[in-house]
Amino acid sequence: MTPQTGRSAGPGVPRGDLPHRAGATGWFDTRHRHLGDWAFVVNRLSGLGLVAYLYLHLVILSQLARGPEAWGGFLAIATSPPVLLFDVLLLAGLLAHAFNGIRVTLLGLGLVASRQKALWVALMGMAVLIALAGASRILGVTS
């Protein structure tokens, strides 16, 4: 295709020879980044965490096939304080990912693009409130 404007770096100007890319590890480099990038990072971290939990969940469920004693042993571990704290973290990650998903869906439909920061703050605010309520139930602060 003939260039529309004939723009060019100019004859004799060398083309670059180093790719000079941050790569996927650059996804998590939040230095000098802004709110939208934090949403991007939280979505990735929570997504990876939930995928890891899926496999852990399957391992846990497999205890059912090993009989009542194995399952009872798991339940004793499941109600120990470290595991309950893990449950709170899991709930927080789940809520962050789910509410971020609402943001992604709305923006994917071309909606509220100019208000994406306010949208993320509002959604994360709701996620934090629900996570706090869930944490208080999980940790037995409220019954």
Partner: protein, 263 residues
């Protein structure tokens, strides 16, 4: 590469007693296997920009320092670089606005490096030419401006100055060189929103694919660094809305008249 600490030569356009700032500049020469940093101290005044300091360094300390610039007022988009880790146009980035201490200066990311602070932006130009966005926006005038006496009207140009800062800031371009990127997708949105006698279908074909608007993961960093408020991330989001409606309409058309989709 050796790291050098250089100071301005007395009498070379600069008062030795004048305030000075030290720039820590990323260096890479063609053929070098590694990159390194050089330090230069340049005299500064209240309005000295990073580009002023770099051109002073080039004129007085190190003529081998490669950089690119043209207009000096954020219109040409050629002096994009990373200053203290932020993607900026060096010609409008004043040193007095930066925190005290050394100022780091690096080339833009995600575009092939030619030398020092110069990246190869040719592929961006080629991609933008593929969209064929007209340069003049006809749907609106220049907002808030009154033509000077004797001037009939003001021409409203498109916002994007094709500087490549958005490409440098995008985390997806960083990991996927095939992604069309924010500048190209933003241009495609403009063509779809205001075709100006151009056929927008080629733009649809370019952006409605795996490496088009759907590859964007909404980090919005392109918006944050855009020096002209072209706001490509918002444009990509709106483009997705249009593409979605386009797909739904096409699907309905196919299923309303199935005989037309027979091979």
């Amino acid at each position: 590469m050796a790291t050098l600490l250089q100071t301005p030569r007395p009498g070379a356009d600069a008062d030795p007693a004048a305030p000075a700032r030290t720039l820590r500049v990323r260096r890479h020469r063609r053929g070098d296997s590694a990159e390194g940093w050089d330090r230069y101290t340049a005299p500064v005044g209240p309005r000295t920009t990073v580009l002023d300091a770099l051109t002073w360094v080039r004129a007085h300390l190190d003529a081998s320092l490669n950089l690119r610039h043209s207009c000096l007022h954020a219109s040409c988009g050629t002096c994009g670089m990373r200053v203290n880790g932020r993607d900026v146009l060096a010609c409008v980035t004043r040193l007095e606005d930066l925190p005290p201490g050394e100022v780091s200066v690096e080339p833009l990311r995600n575009q092939p490096l030619v030398s020092d602070l110069v990246v190869d932006i040719e592929s961006l130009y080629e991609s933008l030419d593929g969209v064929r966005l007209p340069l003049v926006r006809t749907s609106e005038g220049a907002p808030g401006s009154t033509p000077a006496e004797g001037v009939g009207h003001l021409t409203r140009f498109e916002d994007c100055v094709e500087c490549g800062l958005c490409v440098s800031a995008c985390p997806i371009v960083a990991s996927d060189p095939e992604y069309a990127g924010p500048a190209v997708l933003g241009a495609a949105w403009r063509l779809v929103a205001e075709p100006r006698d151009r056929d927008p279908e080629p733009a649809y074909a370019l952006v409605d694919g795996e490496q088009g608007a759907w590859r964007c993961h909404l980090a919005f960093e392109c918006n944050e660094v855009c020096p002209t408020d072209a706001l490509p991330a918002e444009e990509i989001a709106r483009l997705r809305g249009i593409l979605l409606r386009h797909r739904v309409v096409r699907w309905l058309q196919r299923h309303a008249r199935p005989e037309e989709v027979q091979p």
